[in-house]
């Protein structure tokens, strides 16, 4: 899962990125509205944390342009504008959730998890497929109830596939959602991660759909 953090205050941006990375997300940070709009339009994110008072372009304008361009990524607005009138404007402007600063990091993580889960049509907080269970709350994976140790990249590949259970996900799509902007990308390494996941979770767990990509779970 890959998240875009749009926040112009450097220290807060670092804190958010740190907490999100520890929670198992690939994170990109941008500090102004124009860059945010561009990144949102060109990169595939699973969620966005969006500040509103931004240099160059206001966060609400960024959000409106994304929605006009048909970008449906779940957006959590995280802003100092805390009045109810402003909250209504944010939600009517296309936000999926709205939190006022100051906030508790745990709550941001919980709300982001819920947004990603809902956008994937999942009802329960824990994702389960066969004997494998993934809990985004603790970034933990179990096989038949026994904890399995995964690296950050392995976890992101598994998490993305399980959030899109039953759908074939291409290698390109996986690559886009497990790496942040500034990390070296190599679609061949996706094969490596899939191989390692199969060793840890069972060879049959991830199916290769020839020429199309990978799938966890039965096709709907």
């Amino acid at each position: 899962m890959r998240v875009l953090v749009v926040e112009d205050e450097a220290q807060l941006s670092e804190q958010l990125a740190g907490a999100l990375t520890r929670a198992g997300y690939a994170v990109d940070c941008v500090a102004d509205g124009e860059t945010a709009e561009f990144m949102g339009q060109t990169e595939g994110y699973d969620a966005v944390v969006l500040d509103l008072g931004l240099p160059k372009m206001d966060g609400l304008a960024v959000l409106r342009r994304w929605r006009e361009a048909g970008i449906r990524v779940p957006v959590l607005v995280l802003t100092a504008r805390g009045s109810w009138h402003e909250k209504v404007q944010g939600i009517d402007g296309g936000a999926d959730d709205y939190m006022a600063k100051p906030f508790q990091m745990e709550e941001v993580l919980a709300r982001l998890r819920a947004l990603i889960r809902r956008s994937g049509g999942q009802a329960s907080p824990e994702l389960r497929s066969g004997a494998v269970a993934l809990d985004p709350r603790s970034s933990s994976v179990t096989l038949d109830g026994v904890p399995v140790k995964l690296t950050g990249h392995e976890f992101r590949v598994l998490s993305y596939l399980m959030h899109h259970c039953g759908r074939v996900v291409s290698q390109g799509e996986l690559t886009e959602h497990i790496y942040s902007q500034d990390s070296e990308r190599d679609s061949n390494t996706v094969e490596v991660f899939i191989g390692r996941l199969r060793r840890k979770l069972g060879a049959e767990f991830i199916e290769t759909v020839r020429g199309l990509g990978y799938r966890i779970g039965e096709a709907p």
């Binding site: 807060l12 009045s83 009138h85 209504v88 600063k101 100051p102 906030f103 508790q104 809902r118």
Partner: protein, 326 residues
Amino acid sequence: MKWMESLRARVILGVLLGAAGLTGMLHLVMLTQVPRRPMVLHLGHGLEVIVAAGLLVAGLLGLRSGLSPFTRLRARLAAVHTGEARRLDGAYPTEVQPLVNDLNALLDRRDEMVSRAMAKAGDLAHGLKTPLAVLNHEAERAEAAGQVELAAAIRQQVEKMRRQMDYHLAHARAAASGADGGASCSVASSAEGLARTLLRLHAGRGLAIDVEVAPAHSVRCSREDLDEMLGNLLDNACKWAKSRVTLGSAASNSGIWITVEDDGPGLDSALMEQVLQRGVRADQAAPGSGFGLAIVRDLAELHGGSIHLSPGPAGGLRASLVLPAA
């Protein structure tokens, strides 16, 4: 008649008419008072009395109407004072109009200064909230490093500061919108926007928010302030509700009654009083004791309204917000 718009013309005309009437009256008095030629009053004199009295009355009326713009001006100023009007409307005599224009310019400037001060207050609060968010996260780090007491102390102070800012910002906004008189807001439009928003914010809990508000019901306050009051009430109801929140409105002599009910566990009557206790400022209320409700009470009172809590029919809490009708 262009010249009638002039205050000077009206006063001069009034004085001339009055003087002519007075002269006529004096003439008659002289006639009757001269001893050498005792006069017998005949029809002509009666006519003179009528004409002179008519002139006198017309003169007085002319003077009165000449000065009436000042009475109107006072009434308009009073309307600005109570917030019914924002500027001094209407046409005034040419001598008075410049004064009215100056007063309007002064009022515009006051509005401009209020909104600039408001923007500054907002900037100040917004500027502080991001550092507070950073501080909050530092507390989490301190906690992770085993400094639990330090973390708790930071969090508590951050929360206090947040309340101070929210409280004073809401007050400043309400005071500023009071200066911008004549505000009116439809209860239905505010309620519908908030219901949409709260359903999103409480998504995943399966709540239903029923809005049963008459489209004709409007209250005398700005949209921002009504949103703040209703938002706090609805958010509180959503927090406690099991499955349903109902928002209704009714008109009465005391104003528009807006009720928010939930089907939650309700509130102990002693706590109800405590939450809305007079003299307890919202920013000093103890944590968890309905900070939002206290803000609503303060805002409602600023707008000449009130708030009441009672047990709801579904077993939960019913909050009634009463505001002057627009």
